[in-house]
C-alpha cells in the first residue's frame, strides 16, 4: 500500500508536468512569434548602415569564393551518379545526364569480394576515429586549462615546446615515430594510431587560446562557492568554450577519418576503411565508377558530422557569460 501510493502520486505529478510543459511550449511559441515579428524591423534598422549596392558587391564576392569551394563537392556528387560512358566523356560535363546507381552496386560487389569482411573495416575506422578524437579533445582541453589560467614554473617553456613541436610534421619524423611505436610494443595495434593523436600539439594550442579569453571572474566566483578545480573545469570552463572543442572535434574527426594507418598496421583485420577504399580508388581507370562512389562516401561522412555539430559550433558562442 505504502509502495503504491508514491507511484500514484508520481503519475499524477507526471501528468501535471506534461500539462505544464505543453503550456510552456505554447508560451514559448507565442514569444517566438512576437520576436520573429520584431526581428525584421531590427534588420531594416541595421540595413541603413550599408548601401544596397555595397551589400550586393560583398555577397557576389562571397558567392564567387563559395563556388570555388563547392565545385569539388558538386563534381564528386555528380561523378558518383554518372554511368561509365559519361565519366569518360570529353569534353567533360559537370552535371550528370542519366543518373544511375550502377557505381554503388559495383562498389558493393567489390566490397563483398574483399579479403576481410567489409564490416570489419568499418568497425576499425569507428574505433580509431572515435578513440583518437575523444582522447585528443579531452587531453588537449585538460592540459590547456592550467596553461591558460594558472601560473606555475615551466609554463612558458612547455608552451613554446608545444609550438615548436608543431613545426615537425609527421612526414619528416616518420622514422623516429616508428621506432618509438615499436619500442612501446604497440606496433600493429589500434593504439599505434590512437595514442599519438592524443598528445598532438595543435589541439592544445587552439584550446589554450580560447580559454585565455574566459574572464577570470567566472572561475573566481566558482571558487568562492567552494568548487574544486575539477568541478570548475567540467562545469564552468568546458561549457563556456564549447564552440572551441567542437571545432577541434570536427577537425580531429576529419584527420583520424582520413588516416589510412598504412605505416603502423600490418594485419588486414586491423586496417581502417579508408585503406580499403583507397585500394579501390588505386585501381585506376578500370574502376573509375567504383572509385567515384568511394570518393562520395569518404567525403559524405565528415560533412555529415560537421553538419550535425555545426549548429553548436557556430551558432551558440557564449558571450563572456557575464552581465557586463
Amino acid at each position: 500500500m505504502a509502495n503504491v501510493n508514491p507511484a500514484a502520486r508520481n503519475d499524477l505529478t507526471a501528468a501535471e508536468l506534461k500539462k505544464a510543459e505543453r503550456a510552456a511550449k505554447k508560451e514559448a511559441k507565442r514569444v517566438a512569434k512576437i520576436q520573429n515579428k520584431k526581428k525584421p524591423k531590427k534588420g531594416k534598422e541595421k540595413r541603413l548602415n550599408r548601401s544596397m549596392a555595397g551589400n550586393t558587391i560583398l555577397f557576389t564576392l562571397m558567392i564567387i569564393c563559395g563556388l570555388f569551394m563547392v565545385l569539388p563537392l558538386v563534381m564528386i556528387i555528380n561523378n558518383c551518379l554518372k554511368p561509365l560512358d559519361e565519366l569518360y566523356q570529353f569534353p567533360p560535363k559537370i552535371f550528370v545526364r542519366n543518373p544511375t546507381l550502377e557505381n554503388f552496386s559495383d562498389l558493393f560487389v567489390l566490397m563483398n569480394d574483399s579479403w576481410v569482411p567489409f564490416s570489419r573495416y568499418i568497425l576499425n575506422t569507428i574505433i580509431i576515429t572515435l578513440g583518437g578524437m575523444l582522447g585528443h579533445v579531452i587531453c588537449a582541453s585538460l592540459a590547456a586549462y592550467p596553461l591558460a589560467k594558472h601560473k606555475f614554473p615551466g609554463r612558458d617553456l612547455l608552451f613554446s615546446m608545444v609550438v615548436l613541436s608543431m613545426m615537425f610534421s609527421w612526414q619528416v619524423t616518420q622514422i623516429p615515430q616508428y621506432l618509438i611505436i615499436s619500442w612501446l610494443g604497440i606496433n600493429n595495434t589500434y593504439a599505434a594510431l590512437i595514442l599519438p593523436a592524443w598528445s598532438f600539439g595543435m589541439g592544445l594550442y587552439l584550446m589554450k587560446q580560447f580559454m585565455e579569453q574566459l574572464p577570470d571572474s567566472l572561475m573566481e566566483s566558482a571558487r568562492l562557492d567552494g568548487a574544486t578545480e575539477w568541478t570548475i573545469f567540467w562545469k564552468i570552463v568546458m561549457p563556456n568554450v564549447k564552440p572551441a572543442w567542437l571545432t577541434l572535434a570536427i577537425f580531429q574527426f576529419q584527420q583520424m577519418w582520413a588516416n589510412t594507418g598504412s605505416i603502423f598496421l600490418r594485419d588486414e583485420q586491423l586496417k581502417p576503411m579508408q585503406f580499403a577504399l583507397q585500394q579501390i580508388t588505386a585501381g585506376g581507370t578500370r574502376r573509375a565508377g567504383a572509385a567515384a562512389a568511394v570518393t562520395f562516401i569518404i567525403a559524405a561522412v565528415p560533412i555529415t558530422f560537421f553538419l550535425i555539430c555545426q549548429r553548436n559550433v557556430l551558432e551558440t558562442m557564449t558571450t563572456s557569460g557575464m552581465k557586463d
Binding site: R50, G66, M69, P92, F152, M166, M202, Y205, P302, M317
Partner: protein, 313 residues
C-alpha cells in the same frame, strides 16, 4: 588588524600555489604522450642530423656513425636545390599568411551577418577542410586527368602554358603598370596573390571558423555603446571589432604558418630525401633547418603582433 591582513595574504599565496600545482595533474596525461611521442622523435631527428644512418639488413635495424657537421655542410654548399627550395617556401609563406588572415577575417565578418541560408554557406566554406583526405585528392586528380582526355595534369599544364593568350595580355598589363611607376615588387606580390586565390580560399577554412567564434564572443554592449556614440560602421570595425579579435589573429597566424609549412616544398624535399634517396641524415638536416627558420619567423611575427594586441579581460 594589519597582522590579520598579512596572514590572509600569506595564506592566499600558499593556496594559490597549491592550486597551481594541481595544474600539473591536469597536464599530465597530455604531457606523458607528448614527451613519449613527440619530444623523443624531435630529439632523435636532431641526433640523425649529426650522423650518417645506414640500414643494417642482417640485424633488421640501423647503425649510426658520427658525421659531425658534414650533413649540414652538404646541405648548404653541395646540395643543388635545398637553399632555393627553402627560400621559395619561406617566401610563399610570407605571401600567403597575411592574405589568408585578411581573407578569412573578411569572410568571417560576412558570414557572421544574418541572412538566409547562412548555415549552408558556412558549411561550404568549411568544405576544403572536410574533404582533405588522401582518397579524395586522388579521385579529384583522376577526374582532372579524365577531363584532359586522359592526359596527366602536368602535361596538360605545360601544354596550356605554352599556348596561353591570356598570359600574354597579363604580361602586357604588368608592363603597363610598371611604366606608370607602380613598384614592380608590389605588382609581383599582387600577381602572385591573384594566382593563388584558389589556394588561399582553400586554406582558410579553420581560420574562418576561429574568427567567427571570436566575433561572436564580442559583447553586444560594446556595439550598442558605439552606436549610441554615433560611430559609423567603419569606425566600429576599427575601434571595436578589430581590437577584440586581435588575440585570435595571433592564433590564426600561428595556425596558418604551421599549416602552410607542413604542406610546403621543404617538407616534401625532406621526406623524399629520406624515403626515395634513403639519406636520413640529410633529410633530418633539411627538416631541422626549415623548422628553425619557420620558428624564427613565428617568434618575430607573434612578438610584433602581441605588442599591438589589446586584451579585453
Amino acid at each position: 588588524m594589519a597582522e590579520g591582513a598579512e596572514k590572509k595574504v600569506k595564506k592566499k599565496a600558499t593556496l594559490l600555489q597549491r592550486r597551481d600545482r594541481k595544474g600539473y595533474l591536469f597536464i599530465l596525461p597530455w604531457l606523458v604522450g607528448f614527451i613519449v611521442f613527440y619530444v623523443r622523435s624531435i630529439i632523435q631527428t636532431i641526433q640523425f642530423s649529426f650522423n650518417t644512418l645506414t640500414m643494417d639488413a642482417g640485424v633488421g635495424g640501423y647503425a649510426l656513425s658520427w658525421a659531425g657537421l658534414e650533413n649540414y655542410r652538404y646541405a648548404f654548399t653541395v646540395h643543388p636545390t635545398f637553399k632555393q627550395i627553402l627560400t621559395t617556401s619561406v617566401m610563399d609563406m610570407v605571401i600567403d599568411v597575411p592574405l589568408i588572415i585578411f581573407f578569412s577575417l573578411f569572410m568571417a565578418m560576412l558570414l557572421n551577418k544574418e541572412f538566409k541560408g547562412r548555415g549552408l554557406v558556412r558549411a561550404i566554406f568549411f568544405l576544403p577542410v572536410l574533404m582533405n583526405a588522401g582518397a579524395i585528392t586522388a579521385a579529384l586528380d583522376l577526374s582532372a586527368t579524365m577531363m584532359n582526355g586522359g592526359v596527366s595534369g602536368e602535361v596538360a599544364e605545360t601544354a596550356g602554358a605554352a599556348s596561353d593568350a591570356v598570359a600574354f595580355s597579363l604580361d602586357y598589363l604588368i608592363d603597363m603598370f610598371v611604366s606608370i611607376g607602380i613598384p614592380a615588387k608590389l605588382l609581383d606580390y599582387m600577381v602572385s596573390a591573384v594566382e593563388r586565390i584558389n589556394d588561399i580560399i582553400r586554406a582558410s577554412g579553420v581560420q574562418i571558423v576561429i574568427f567567427i567564434a571570436a566575433l561572436q564572443s564580442i559583447p553586444s554592449s560594446l556595439y550598442e555603446v558605439a552606436k549610441i556614440e554615433g560611430a559609423t560602421t567603419y569606425e566600429t570595425f576599427w575601434k571595436v571589432t578589430f581590437p577584440m579579435v586581435m588575440p585570435h589573429i595571433i592564433t590564426n597566424v600561428v595556425y596558418t604558418i604551421v599549416d602552410s609549412y607542413s604542406t610546403s616544398d621543404v617538407v616534401e624535399l625532406a621526406s623524399s630525401t629520406a624515403f626515395t634517396n634513403f639519406n636520413y641524415g640529410l633529410s633530418a638536416v633539411f627538416s631541422l633547418v626549415s623548422a628553425v627558420v619557420t620558428c624564427a619567423i613565428l617568434v618575430v611575427v607573434v612578438n610584433f603582433i602581441q605588442k599591438r594586441t589589446f586584451y579585453y579581460t
